[in-house]
Each structure stands twice: as C-alpha cells, then as structure tokens.
Point group: C2
C-alpha cells in the first residue's frame, strides 16, 4: 500500500478533479434512501422562485429532505427491552455541536415523563443540613456553561468483543458519543450549602427513572467540575437527556451523568449499586476487576470516508475528516495514516479546540485507486495517545468491552467501498 | 437610587435568602402560561418512578412542559405580509448556542420549499470561468466550522424610533439575534476556482426565494472570511435558515447572509438592488445616506431580569445575567450598572469567549427593594463601547432604526416589575 496524502498546504481543489470521475456515488451513499426524487434537472426557474414562500414555524424543524438523518435504536425494534441505545449519526455531523435532537441516549429504563413542578432534588447523608430543591428554586442559582462531549462507556464495544469486524457505519459503531453546550449550577455550590461533614468522600447520585439508576462518585471530582445541568444547547434539557435536571460530570463515562437526577447521598464509601457492580465494572485480562474507571480516554474516528460509504474516485482531491475527543482535556494532535500505520501525517485541527469537547480534524487526500487502510490516532494535551486494538485487548478479559478506545481502521477497497477492519 | 451589587467574589448563595421571601413569583413569570398543573406536591413516589419509562424518538424534541419557549412572529398573525420576523426567546436562553429551532428568521418572501436535488449555486460575471455546482458537488469540498452570532440590521429598532419605550420583553425587543455553529465551504475557494478578473471588487449574492432577495457585498470581505454554509449546529441548514445553502458573512447584518443562495455575480460595482437601496440604507441626521454599513456594532442585553419579568425579592441574592456580542471581534468586557449609570461594575464573562459570537456575562446582585435602573455596557477587543441612546439618536434621522446598538435600560419598580426604559 502506497497511498499518500497530498502535500500539506499545497492541495489545490481542482474543479475538474472534483466534479468528474463519477463522483456522484459518494454523496448518493451519504444521502441514503430518504432522498426525494430529482425535480428539475435543467436551467428552468424552479417553482419556489415563482411565488412567495410558505410560513415559518414557532419551533423550527429540519428539512423533510434530511429525514434520513436520525438516531437509530439498538437493539432495533420490536425488541422489547427497556434498555435501549439511540445513536448519533456522526457521519452526517459537521462541526463540534451535536443537534440536541440527535444526541445519543442510552436508557436503562426508558424515558420517564416527569412533571417538573413535582420534581425535587435532594442532598442528604453526611451533610450538616439535608436540603431539597424544586425546579423553581434551582433555576434561581447562578449558572455556568461548558461545551463537553458525553460518551457511553460501552461505545464502540462491538469492535472490542466481536471476533470479526462488524460491518457497519459510524452511527452504529461509534454513535454513543455526542457533544453539546451544557448549562447548570456547579454542584459544589449545592454541596457546600448543605455543608459537608468530616470524612465525606463519595456521593451516590440517583435518577428518578423507574429503575432508579444510581452511581457512586468520588466527592473530589464532583466538587471540582460537576454541574447540575438544566440546559443543553441553549434550551432546557430534553426528556431524553434527563429533563428537568441531570448530573454532568465532564470527561467521565455517560452513565454517571445521571439523568432525571433527584437524589445525592453524601457518604464515606461507594454504595456498590447494581449499576456499578454489574454492567459498568470491567474485568481485566488476569481476572481482577477494574472498578470505578470513570474517565473516557482519548479517542478519534474518521467520519468521512467511513464504513458503508464510498470514497472519492481515484485522482480526485478529497479530504479525510473526523472527530477526536479526550476525557482528560484538550486534543493536542491527530495523526492520520492511509497505509495502515506505516506512515503518519499530522491532520489539521478545526477550531475551537476546547477542554473535553469534540475537536474536528481533516487531511487533504487523493486516492490512487489501490486498496488503502485509513487510521486516525489522537493525542491529548497530557500526551496520552490512542492504543492499537491488540494493546487494548491485552489489558482486558476477552469479553470486556467498556472504555474501548483503540485506533479505528477503515479499509478502502479497490472499488472504493469502505469497511470496518481490525488493524 | 443607591442599588449596589454584591462585592465581587464574596457573594454567598445563602439558602435561606434564596428560598424565602415569596420568590416563586420570579420563576412563575419566566415559565409563563404554558406550564402544566402541579401533579404531586408531597413526598409521595411520583408515577414515573413506579414503572419503566416510555420509548425515545428518532429525532428528539423538547419537553411538552417547555412548549411556551418558542419563536414569536411579528407582525403577528393574521397579518398577511410575506415579510415576517420570527424572534428568539433570548430570556429563556442560557449559554452561547441558540437551538436551531429557536434561531431568529426574518423572511422577505416567506420560506421557499427547495428540493436540494434541483438547486444550483452559480458564480458568474467578472470571472475567468463561470461555474455552477449542485449540492452533491458542494458537499465534497473541505469545510470550516465557526461559532458566530447573526443579527438583523433592524433588531431593537423599536427602541430607536418609538417616542415612548415599547413595553415588551427580550424576545420582542431583542429577539432578532441568535448564535450558532456554522459549517461550510470558504467562499474564497469557490471564487478562486472561478478565477477573478482584474478589477473585480463587488459580488451580488442572490437567493432562490420568490422575491430573489439580493445584496451587493465587497469582494474583499468575502475573500476574507465568508462561507457558503451548509450546516448549522451539526446538521444541515433548516429551511428557515436557507436550506440547502446560505451565505454566511461573519459580523455583518443578517440580510446579507443571503438564504437559499443560488447566484453570485462578480462585478466592479454594487448593483443597488431593491433590498439595499430601500430597506437597508440608513438616513443620517443631516439627510445624507449611509449605504453599505454592514457591520453589527458592539451590543449587549441583560436577559435576567428583563422586561416583563419580576426581579428577585429584596434581600435575596440573585444574579444579573445577559448576552453581549460584537461584529468586529471578541467581547473584551461588560460593565453593569444598577443605578442608571452613576456607578459601573465589571461583570464576569462566561466562556468560551469567541470572535463574533455571543458571550455570556453575569454579576451577583441583591436588590434592596427600592426602584433600580439596570444597564449593561459592552466593549469589544478593539475598544469600541456601546453608545447611550441619545448619542446614537444624534447621529441618525428620527425615523432611522437599523444598527441600533445603544445601551439598554431595564427599570425595576418598587414592586419588582421590570420595564423597558430610555436612559
């Protein structure tokens, strides 16, 4: 394999190269089956220029021509389990903000329909003054806003456990990660108001869903940067994201960002709830348990081209583009390889590059028509780099799948098809 | 008036002060009439904790309890004019991102229902090679992402022209400004591909709406930082925002960010289209015309408390919070006065502080129960400061209203009501 990216800074976006060579295939694959029929292929004045347009809406919606851009549920219906994963179509996202309507959700007990006027948040346990707030009270506190990714601990787990690579796209394989602007009350303010007793070191956070999803979290982290989030992307949380209030624990695995938050119990030890003793405890290669491994490590994925797409035809300049993130801080660099890791090329990071947020990256590339193997390898500001799949697998038991963050490989076939590959 | 904000850094959010004193009035005013009845005022386990929740959605929506947070149309229905303004409920926004469904829109000819497969973007005029792209072709180009505000030239115009202050809230008075992450192709790339002829200095941008909204723009600015935007907040533009493609001209008045963009004519002079000779030409105090004044100057508004709300009861710590923006760059500082401008106090800027984007600001405050006059005064990184209303008015003819950016005053009455005031 001798694929080489274009020399940095010298790539020219030649119209001839871009617009010839049967390139319609790429976008057809992106647009999918939801696309409407072509209306007017000629120079004729289209109908929408011959008359005034229609009214707008009080709450706007996407174009009906974009109806194929939607979350998918896994397991797919008619599976009746209350646990469900609704995944973000990352291959359609450009930029760092995920639309709230497309933000991933993993529900352990479905989505409760909470009346905010009847919802309460309680702080109790090892505190001087057990306290309870209703929403009207919480909304009076000063708030902070932060742009952060959220990722399910199990995101990309299929690549960890399946003997052969699952042939699927970004949404199916990587879609349990999204990024939003979150606004809420620093949890420190509420805990200090309750008054922490000596020895307090853990907090059990519980949701008001039917299964009372609960996780134990170290007090130190919660005092540092956690928030009681009330807003997402400028508006109140949506039911799917914990309306009316959720915990937001920047950089830590999704399920500890407890949705529909209603109780915080301060303690001197973890509670070993069902949600942390079972599903979110990881088994190491030697059989020992890795408990309370909260941080989502540095990770990246090439979204264009990616699984299920067609790459641009040979000889046509295109770009390799994707998303990177780290639960430890900012992304420092992303390197991209088109030859399976023999050579690496620094990608350009798009702005803004924010702490524990999606960061976009891109690299110009012209495919030569031969099989290629595309990798992206992110490094965060602390020098932590994504591992290879074999290095990740060596650490964990064969069936462990949480916190999988190995380098993703997309194989480009001689026909331009893109497939999931273990590299 | 002797209102004084809390000493910086020493404000304590006393629970007793926050939660007593009949404070429910503030939030009741915020929540509005759309609020559902209170379901369970007691400690009883609510129904949503007794059973699994419901399914999620492929494309999420806000809670039905937040249905009052919506855009309002001005002129209000049943006004039949095709020109309409749909305004953002800024008093409900927290953070810098406006949800796409709540982003303001001013439509000169309604919203065209464009089939993207039949839409074309053309570059012609003083170019070496007239070019035309369909959407499939445009989507192949490398893109950039930027978080920028958009503001209608006429936003807040009521305060410029009405002899007495219109008694209305942020949405009605200030709601023609919003902020999103925009992603698209740098216009420079497309223009350079077409090849600019010597002497080219202006570009006429035209939309594919029924009225062919068109504006002339200096080529220099377009080559500098304009983009052909295809995505907003991570998904394709919505019809209301120009689907499938709009022009994005950072920091410049909304109407030059031509929606439904289909034609760019390169020229050596402006075209003096109906849209720029009429509505968007401003008349100065001495009768001369101010043409092509594109930049939206530095501006701010306190959103909490603001017109139509009740401020927090006397003696209860609260915060004065709002949004600031400048079409020239980053916000450098915002000062807040609670005594009508006699004394000023630096507000805290929330992060991130980005170029030509909304920036949040806040200041702790405890009202003493006497009439107060709240002002916010923003300054951008170039040292440009918002003018007083009288200074702004001195520059323009009495009926001029575009680009009004004077300091906004909210008067707090002895009963806690907040009113629009000229200060």
């Amino acid at each position: 394999m001798e694929q080489r990216p274009d020399e940095r800074g010298t790539a020219r976006w030649s119209r001839r190269a871009l617009l010839t060579g049967g390139g319609a295939g790429v976008v057809a694959a992106l647009a999918g089956a939801g696309r409407a029929a072509r209306a007017e292929p000629t120079n004729a004045v289209p109908p929408w220029m011959r008359a005034p347009g229609g009214p707008d809406e009080e709450y706007g919606r996407p174009s009906t021509y974009e109806a194929h851009v939607r979350r998918v549920r896994r397991p797919a219906p008619p599976e009746r389990a209350v646990m469900s994963s609704w995944r973000t179509p990352l291959e359609h996202q450009r930029g760092i903000i995920t639309p709230s309507g497309l933000h991933f959700s993993v529900h352990h007990n479905g989505v409760p329909a909470i009346d905010p006027s009847a919802h309460r948040l309680m702080v109790h346990g090892m505190v001087e003054r057990p306290l309870r707030w209703d929403l009207e009270q919480l909304l009076r506190y000063p708030m902070v806003s932060r742009i952060h990714f959220l990722e399910c601990a199990g995101n990309t787990g299929a690549n960890a456990v399946m003997p052969m690579p699952l042939q699927a796209g970004c949404q199916e394989l990587f879609g349990e990660v999204s990024c939003s602007e979150w606004t809420g009350v620093p949890l420190r303010v509420l805990l200090e108001e309750a008054g922490l007793k000596p020895g307090a070191s853990w907090v059990v956070a519980e949701g008001a869903d039917g299964g009372s999803h609960a996780r134990s979290l170290p007090l130190k982290k919660l005092l540092d940067d956690a928030m009681v989030a009330l807003f997402q992307n400028g508006e109140r949380l949506r039911p799917s994201q914990g309306y009316p209030v959720r915990l937001l624990v920047p950089g830590w695995e999704g399920n500890v960002n407890v949705k529909w938050l209603h109780r915080l119990e301060v303690s001197d030890r973890p509670a070993f709830t069902k949600d942390e003793s079972g599903m979110y405890t990881q088994i190491l290669e030697d059989g020992r348990l890795e408990r309370f491994a909260f941080t989502m490590e540095v990770k990246s994925v090439i979204t264009r081209p990616s699984g299920g797409q067609l790459t641009a035809p040979p000889g046509r300049p295109t770009e390799i583009a994707g998303l990177a993130w780290s639960g430890r801080g900012k992304i420092a660099r992303v390197d991209v390889s088109v030859d399976g890791g023999t050579t690496w090329h620094p990608a350009t990071l798009g702005g803004p590059v924010l702490d524990r947020a999606f960061t976009t990256f891109s690299l110009p590339w012209t495919w030569d028509g031969k099989p290629a193997l595309l990798l992206s390898r992110a490094e965060d500001e602390h020098g932590v780099v994504q591992p290879s799949r074999s290095r990740w697998k060596a650490r964990y038991a064969a069936h462990s799948y949480n916190h999988y963050n190995a380098i993703q490989a997309w194989a480009v076939g001689a026909d331009g098809t893109v497939e999931n590959r273990y590299a």
